[in-house]
Symmetry: C2
Subunit: 267 residues, 2 copies
């Protein structure tokens, strides 16, 4: 980077961290536009770190989880995609496409309320082509049992059988599970409470997960119910998370020598 | 947390993540007061993640690096402590104490310039008891070779032999090394370019490192030059980083079963 007078640097596409910096910029812009909470920036940073030690790619285990997730949503009677500020800032177009392909409505659900935030997120989704957005009208909402935070206020999620929760907090995942809903999480931390409590945990960066889900949804829509159920039955979430942890271990082991190559001429 | 209407929740001291949430709050407040850049919040999140997989404690290898770092600063002719926004927001009092004990001046050095930022950081350091703060008066500054970002502007760092850089970016660490300075880094990412390029890498959370450095400085000040040199000679930074990576691997391996205990009653 040659310029950093402001925080909107034009990063060349050849920069080794171009992708990562592009989405970091979207998150910072999201905060300025009220879409993202301040704590959402810190959460994004945590994700960046896990993505880094996962090699910044969608792993084979993430792909398995994505297959199971799409099958579960296609089999669901009342699926819902929960939307928070970070997700809306990062992948608004993808979310809207995914919602249409899977016939799973979008519902805004926020941990941090702030005047204008819901409207800012609604606007970003409308701009991305959404036609109906839930979680806006308080009069339509009910309280989710066992939850004290703002996230207890839900609309369609109250009656949903399958809920996709990208970038979720642990309390809500636990509350949703205790209400016997099938929870699909997208979380880069394979050891977060959300990752551990969910039925299907996609350990991946949401910016790669959503396009991959769209691709897989187009394929799996051709299958029949029996075939979709088979995909779900073959999936073991605990084993899948453990395999993901093995990938992290392998990455760290490799880096024990490899990382030092950049300074070798100095040693 | 029972309240999240705003982002200033009163977290009870009994909360399992009390310490982590307290410093997260300081970083968010720091941004509101101009001390911390927006990107500093994301960087803080990355650090949180690495701290998490290191068990959120100062490891034996971090303690070894701290010993070597204090010895190097005590042996230095012209040591400098470089201060950025995150460090100033997190541990202003500790920085000032450390600077006084080690007789190592503080110099503000920022990646992201913004009107009022340097003054905000100066104020926080003055309030913490600092008497002289460098890196404020542009007329006293020179350009560091091989660096294009704002961080090239330095005052005492230009002639320093040992520079302590907490939470540094890779470009500057590399530039400082190419100018043959001894670089001591505090970085939670053991694989960052800063961590790899530095002569002494303290892989630890700055909020624990600074008090530990003060404690060790009080002890090592009683030693003579030969004894201090012995501490430095025994220290092997590459091996120390590799041992730290082993701790991460051990942590992840343990969690492969242990983490799932929280959901056991459900499985």
């Amino acid at each position: 980077m040659t310029s950093n007078e402001n925080q909107d640097p034009t990063v060349p596409k050849t920069h080794p961290r171009y992708e990562s910096l592009k989405y970091r910029h979207k998150i910072i812009e999201g905060m300025k536009n009220l879409v993202v909470a301040e704590a959402g920036l810190i959460a994004h940073g945590r994700g960046e770190c896990f993505d880094y030690i996962l090699g910044e790619k969608t792993t084979q285990y993430a792909k398995k989880a994505i297959g199971a997730a799409v099958a579960a949503i296609l089999l669901a009677e009342k699926p819902v995609i929960s939307v928070n500020g970070n997700v809306a800032a990062l992948v608004p177009d993808g979310l809207v496409s995914l919602s249409k392909i899977l016939i799973a409505p979008l519902e805004i659900n926020l941990f941090y309320q702030k005047e204008g935030r819901i409207e800012a997120i609604k606007d970003i989704l409308l701009k991305a082509g959404a036609t109906i957005i839930h979680g806006i009208n308080v009069s339509k909402m009910v309280d989710l049992e066992g939850l004290e935070s703002n996230r207890r206020k839900v609309e369609l999620i109250a009656d949903a059988d399958v809920v996709l929760v990208p970038l979720e907090d642990g309390d809500r995942t636990e509350a949703l599970k205790k209400l016997n809903k099938t929870v699909i999480a997208v979380d880069l931390n394979p050891l977060s409470r959300t990752a551990l409590w969910a039925d299907i945990t996609i350990v991946d960066n949401i910016v790669r997960t959503v396009p991959e889900m769209i691709k897989i949804a187009n394929e799996l829509k051709k299958l029949n119910i029996t075939q979709l159920k088979q995909i779900l039955q073959k999936f073991n979430n605990k084993l899948n998370i453990q395999n993901t942890l093995n990938l992290i271990v392998e990455y760290i082991e490799r880096q024990k020598e490899k990382a030092f190559e950049i300074v070798k001429f100095r040693l």
